[in-house]
Amino acid sequence: MQGDFCGRTRREFLWESGCGFGAVALSALLGEDFFGSQQVRADGVTPFHNPLAPRPPHFEPKARSVIFLFMYGGPSHMDTFDYKPAMYGRDNQTVEVRTFGRGGHRNQGRIVEPRWRFRQYGECGKRVSDLFPYLAQRVDDIAFLHSMTADSPIHGSAMLMMNSGRILSGHPALGSWVNYGLGTVNQDLPGFVVMLDPRGGPISGARNWTSGYMPAYYEGTVMRSQGTAILNLDRPGGMSATSQRQVLDALRDYNDTHRMTRPGNSALNARIAGYELAYRMQSAAPEAVDLTQETNETRQLYGMDESRSEAFGRQCLLARRLVERGVRCIQIYSGGNHNDANWDAHGDLAHNHNLHAGETDKPIAGLLTDLKRRGLLDSTLVVWGGEFGRQPTAEYARGTGRDHNSYGFTMWLAGGGIRGGVSVGATDELGSAAVERPFHVKHLHATILRQLGLDPNRLSYFHGGLDQKLVGVEGAEPIREIIA
């Protein structure tokens, strides 16, 4: 959509248009934002790119920002939001059911009865399990997708699929596409922020928020909710702001000289631009993460008064503050590391899901409530889900652990022009596979882009001989049923 990435900057443009000192001085007078907003270079034809300058979307946007709450490991749908009455009273019964997980393909299994009761909530009467007593209060703002499917039931590839639309690495993440399509309105903070579980990151690490074949300035930036927000950002001890500026200016001159002979090197451009963004973030990032500006009531709303939900609550509150500061895409991971440090309940289902739901229930409910009362939920799209769901049957001969399931699982969206209190699609009576109105990950991606004002079938980036799209070269339609 944005044409070619010729990789030229203001300085190169001045250099190439044959101007000298005078022009450099002039450019300084006009200021960064003047050139930053230009769409054509001096000849009036060639596109000029500040890669992160805000750009008008294709359609009127409903959402300005997206918060993706990533439940890493794969939360069980039939134990959370996808009520399966047919499973109750049938614990340990052997049934014929086709499953495919890390344990391979199977044709029968032993039912694990959901360990939680479901109750009805809200005006819509949605059934939610006792895992989410707080979040359940918000069902009238939420649209549930019960018939999600993905291409892989294995963590690594499924994570890449949910983040970038493909099971192979090297493709840009959703947040990269959003910043490529819309630019960022805040030049002092990254446009794509990722927050990880304190226990560790997800499988494949940074490949989940990479910009892939796009220029590196669209890559996600990992931000911490406690202590130093962004690592390696602080000025070294003993260095004044003035001397740091002098060092950066000198460095930039050397970098520019270096770049002259390497046109079109996006990684190099991103790296040089990174110094300037980092300089501006030195003051903007600590202010953004300064939660002392928040009231006790607000911290309590996010569950920060309880030790189990403190960490995720802090991240959710920080996400709201980043939305207020114009950050386009924020991804928060619940769960990381290995085994039961994430939602991957292969062993003790109750132990695992009580832990992770307990950590996230109040913070997520608090986030939705807080966004709503501040009038931000209208323009903030919140997405919840993991890379897949879980099987109705047990993985092993003993125990309650469930294996992975990409044949059918639940995700939900709220805010950002999404209809609340609706549920679309269905899995079979055991929740083993999507049977009604199955959706692929690309339909979810198409819906997110559409709400942000981007046409999923028009937003493309030329790479490898194809106009690449987040939703794949064949395209995908948004899920209309949940759009308000």
Partner: protein, 297 residues
């Protein structure tokens, strides 16, 4: 880098000409002086979407120093459909400049000094669909000026002085409107999951046998109270995730000790000569009690 730049001055006039044409291409139809003034104040004027003469104006990111005076420049723009003045220094007196912006569909005034004085200027913004007044000084008096805004479907008045009666009155005049006043936390139901039982949960003692105790697994943070009911001093060992033994001190006969731990951790108990007596695998209850039973000779 300047040493590479040779041909200099002649290009400047050409560049200036091109600069002039940039502005006209980019923000066609908007007065250049107003655009320049808004830019100087840190505000931004952007097209709402491709191929449409609809504009959004924002001051809430870099333009928070905006005062009432600056709003005159906004008033000079055409087809503004969205205006964000959150956190700026404007007051109710400045709202007079918004009086004729009848194309506005979305208006953010939250967290400003705006109060009842001046709200009457919004009464004629009949296309307004979204109005955010949270964290301002408005009262029910302001709400009375909004009854003519038939398209208004979202109004935010959290942290203001509006009352139930005032909101009810407006809701009657604008039945389609959703008026958000925040939440009463006290009204939210208490959590139904029991995770932290007050009484400590007794842990299962597994007497030493030929079978090796398992390694600890990752779990949640809990607190374990060990009680030595034997007649000898015992040693506490945590079996790490990798299977190594890590000693956590000794416990005299009859003594109790609180120990920070995680669920699914294995705690091995030995006598003074490191001979295993038995072990505990901690459960997920936040308060755990691990009683080392008296050893039968």
């Amino acid at each position: 880098m300047y040493r590479y730049l040779t041909s200099a001055a002649p290009a400047i006039p050409i560049l200036l000409l091109v600069v002039a044409s940039f502005d006209s291409r980019l923000q066609a139809g908007q007065p250049a002086d107003a655009l320049a003034a808004i830019k100087k104040l840190g505000g931004s004027v952007r097209l709402l979407r491709d191929n449409a003469n609809e504009w959004e104006v924002e001051f809430h990111l870099q333009g928070r120093e905006l005062t009432d005076k600056g709003l005159t420049h906004v008033a000079a723009l055409n087809n503004v459909v969205s205006l964000n003045l959150r956190d700026t220094k404007i007051t109710g007196a400045g709202l007079v400049h918004l009086k004729n912006l009848t194309t506005l569909r979305s208006l953010h005034l939250e967290r400003t000094k705006v109060g009842d004085d001046g709200i009457e200027n919004l009464a004629g913004l009949v296309n307004l669909e979204y109005l955010n007044l949270y964290g301002t000084n408005v009262t029910d008096k302001s709400l009375e000026h909004l009854t003519r805004l038939k398209k208004l479907n979202r109004l935010y008045v959290w942290e203001t002085k509006v009352t139930d009666a005032g909101v009810a009155k407006l809701a009657k005049a604008l039945p389609e409107s959703r008026i958000v006043r925040g939440v009463d936390l006290a009204k939210l139901p208490a959590t139904t999951i029991k995770t932290a039982s007050k009484a400590p949960v007794l842990q299962k003692w597994i007497a030493a046998s030929d079978e090796k105790p398992p390694k600890s697994k990752l779990g949640v943070n809990i607190s374990v109270v060990f009680e030595n009911k034997t007649s000898i001093p015992v040693k506490l060992f945590w079996i790490s995730y990798g299977g190594e033994l890590k000693q956590y001190g000794e416990l005299a006969p009859g003594a109790m000790r609180r120990q920070n731990s995680y669920s699914l951790a294995t705690w091995l108990i030995t006598d003074g000569n490191d001979t295993p007596l038995g072990y505990f695998i901690t459960t997920a209850d936040q308060e755990a009690l691990a009683v080392i039973p008296n050893q039968k000779k």
